[in-house]
């Protein structure tokens, strides 16, 4: 397990940077004609089932649009959309039951785990065709531990502090002035005095605040320690873990008082409604914004805590599609669908509904400032992590770490929490 994670650190980092740079270059030179439609010339018609977890925000609209486009290319998609959280919770039985041919999933430990268990169908043949669309980093992130390709990466997004420009302007806080955590706390004090919740914090689902843990840990102790901790190479009783909780505690007075009442969308809406000044969240929160509010959305990196680490790391998870075991009996159709989903045609359709960043280096990067700021953020970052629950074991992140963070947010003692986390990690069955 050790080597795997280390290898991925390198690949992931280069991936995103490469992708962003490549895409930016393309935008400058004018987007090249997409050549991927070539395969569509074939007259064959395919019937493929697809499991979608894209049910939040603009998800259903996007699914409807791209399945219609796929149909026009001769791929009839039987769409099976399941609520995002339920999809995730049922993934084990889903993959062992009668899974759809192709389904939405993530890069990282969670993909490699299922590949190891033989629950995925490798797609090396397809990658020979589409490989040139991806930088080395994305290619690495799509590869299992056995060296075979499993993922067609689609989109990715960074985690950062998201806010409404107009709210900050009205409160007289200059986003560019937030360099250190002390600056952030000072800004929070201003927002609080204006009657706003400075930082909207959600953790009803048990995963939302994991992103806050990630970023405070990476800022406090650096990227390497964070990856060591998520993979179990560092101990939860390490005093550095306590530093994370201590730093988090200094922000708690400025975060939502009842985070366990709020889901990620509830908290995101507080920012839209101008009740909260900011949220530490993935850029997918932009999906909640109306066309009118969207131009007001902006982001800044989480500020410096330890000067040695600067702002050199972030979470930026990669999403994509995988082929299940059922794809093996429908390989031609499954590959055609996955090729389509990896194409610039697909990214174009999605972007027309809700802008985002795509893995295919020929995808256009929307020129709107919010997307550009995401690209800039990743380009200025040395290390990219996936997210706590994608970097760590699922039987640890979900049922053990999630509740531990909820306990911390409701006044639990960080020392007791950390020693329980260590004991629980040590008690996990060998992976």
């Amino acid at each position: 397990m050790k080597e795997i994670i280390t290898e991925n650190e390198v690949s992931r980092r280069s991936v995103l940077k490469g992708a962003a740079a490549g895409a930016a270059a393309l935008t400058v030179g004018g987007v090249g004609a997409s050549t991927l439609g070539a395969s569509a010339a074939s007259a064959a018609t395919y019937n493929v089932s697809f499991g979608s977890n894209n049910t939040n925000g603009p998800g259903p609209e996007q699914d409807a649009a791209w399945t219609a486009a796929a149909k026009a290319e001769g791929i009839n998609v039987a769409l099976n959309a399941v609520d995002h959280n339920n999809f995730q919770n049922n993934i084990n039985s889903y993959l062992q039951g009668t899974p759809d041919n192709v389904f939405d999933w993530f890069s990282g430990y969670r993909m490699q785990f299922f590949a190891e268990k033989g629950l995925l169908t490798p797609i090396d043949d397809l990658w020979k065709k589409i490989g040139s669309n991806y930088t080395a980093g994305f290619t690495g992130a799509s590869t299992g531990l056995d060296g075979k390709k499993y993922l067609v990466p689609t989109d990715w997004y960074p985690w950062a502090i998201h806010y409404r420009k107009s709210v900050w302007k009205k409160a007289g806080v200059n986003p560019a002035s937030i360099k250190t955590i002390a600056d952030l706390i000072n800004a929070c004090k201003v927002f609080k005095s204006k009657g706003l919740v400075p930082i909207a914090q959600a953790d009803k689902g048990g995963w939302e605040a994991q992103g806050v843990f990630d970023i405070i840990n990476m800022r406090t102790n650096g990227f390497k320690f964070h990856m060591d901790l998520t993979a179990g190479r560092a101990s939860w009783t390490d005093p550095r873990v306590q530093k994370v909780f201590a730093n988090w505690k200094s922000l708690l007075p400025y975060m939502s008082a009842h985070p366990l009442d709020l889901g990620d969308q509830d908290a995101g809406k507080l920012v839209i409604q101008k009740k909260a000044a900011m949220i530490i969240m993935g850029s997918f929160t932009s999906g909640l914004y109306s066309k009118a509010d969207y131009p007001d959305l902006a982001l800044i990196p989480f500020p410096i805590i330890a000067p040695a680490n600067g702002t050199d790391s972030i979470d930026a998870p990669i999403d994509g599609v995988l082929a299940s075991t059922s794809a093996a009996s429908n390989m031609a159709g499954s590959e055609a669908l996955m090729e389509f989903i990896g194409s610039t045609k697909f990214s174009g359709i999605i972007q027309a509904i809700s802008p985002g960043l795509f893995a295919n280096k020929n995808s256009s990067v929307p020129s709107d400032p919010f997307i550009q700021s995401q690209v800039k953020l990743v380009n200025s970052t040395k290390h990219v992590a996936q997210f706590f629950d994608r970097d760590s074991r699922p039987d640890f992140a979900g049922p053990i770490f999630g509740p531990a963070i909820q306990k911390f947010l409701t006044g639990g003692d960080p020392k007791a929490i950390a020693s329980n986390l260590k004991a629980q990690w040590d008690a996990l069955p060998p992976a």
Partner: protein, 316 residues
């Protein structure tokens, strides 16, 4: 009352004897019929109840991630049990919640349901309306129940609006505060349970011979005395059902807490822990099975004691 009982026993005894006598002289087709009627349910019962139950108990002594065949199952003895008792913070909360649930159902909700049934049985004005409205919560699906009450109790919900504060930071956190939310959930659960018990009891009371009540009134018994000494005893079969339903409903509590916050943060129950470990993204079958076995034992205890006491009394 006692005469009624004696009579029924007198009737029962000869019936039993007859059966025993006849047991040797079944014809071939009788045997086939009997075999089908007794054998088929037995096979189905063993296959779908006892085999999974025993498998669950066996799995609770193993490590298994639920993927792949039996060869991936590793025997680990009592490790899972030691771990859930020593390490899992959720377990004490879950046990506390299940006990609270049982206590609230047994001491408040069930008696209230019986009380309602008693009054509705008296054919007050508008009985139909009361009956329907108390029973309504059971007609609504649990998912909808969850959504309705979520809209009432969320920080920016109906209740806080009545209190005049829906600010997410200062309003009362009914569902997010781990010290409060279990009481809110018990309220919602009781809301459903009362109607359920009322209906069961009402059905039973309709079958009580009105002359018994009249006789007791003529003899000068008070309402309470009549209820306790005349109606309750003649409803013994219904009482058994109500006790069993109350125990089972409170011990298997799952759906409501799962809809509210997936059974975390103060709303853990044993049922949730089973689900989380077996069905969640992290299949830890050993732990989940250990919780299930624990729940099985807890359920079995009180129900067996109660059934044994009741039926042994009835067969004397």
């Amino acid at each position: 009352m006692s005469s009624v009982l004696e009579e029924s026993q007198e009737l029962a005894v000869p019936a039993k004897k007859k059966k025993r006598k006849g047991s040797h002289n079944f014809s071939g087709s009788d045997r086939v019929t009997l075999g089908a009627f007794v054998g088929l349910p037995t096979i189905l019962h063993v296959l779908f109840v006892w085999v999974p139950a025993v498998c669950t108990i066996l799995l609770s002594f193993t490590f298994w991630d639920g993927i792949g065949g039996l060869k991936n199952i590793k025997w680990v003895g009592f490790t899972n049990y030691r771990q859930i008792f020593q390490l899992d913070d959720n377990l004490p909360i879950a046990i506390r919640n299940n006990i609270l649930w049982l206590a609230v159902f047994a001491l408040i909700a069930t008696p209230l349901g019986i009380l309602l049934a008693y009054y509705i049985d008296k054919n007050l004005k508008g009985t139909q309306l009361y009956q329907t409205s108390f029973y309504l919560p059971l007609v609504i699906s649990l998912a909808v129940t969850g959504i309705i009450w979520d809209n009432v109790f969320r920080t920016d919900g109906v209740l806080n609006a009545l209190f005049g504060d829906t600010n997410p930071d200062t309003a009362i956190s009914w569902l997010g505060d781990p010290h409060k939310n279990i009481w809110v959930v018990l309220f919602i659960a009781s809301w459903r349970h009362i109607g359920y018990i009322m209906l069961l009891y009402l059905a039973g009371m309709k079958s009580v011979d009105p002359s018994l009540r009249e006789a007791s009134a003529i003899d000068g018994a008070t309402e309470w005395y009549t209820f306790r000494r005349v109606i309750m005893p003649s409803l013994r079969p219904v009482n058994v059902i109500i006790v069993v339903v109350t125990i089972i409903e409170s011990l298997r509590a799952f759906d409501l807490v799962f809809i509210i916050n997936r059974g975390t943060n103060g709303l853990q129950t044993l049922g949730v822990l089973v689900y989380q470990n077996i069905q969640g993204e992290s299949t830890r079958i050993g732990w989940g099975s250990a919780y299930a076995t624990l729940l099985f034992l807890i359920c079995l205890g009180p129900i067996m004691v109660y059934l044994y006491q009741n039926f042994s009394k009835g067969n004397d």
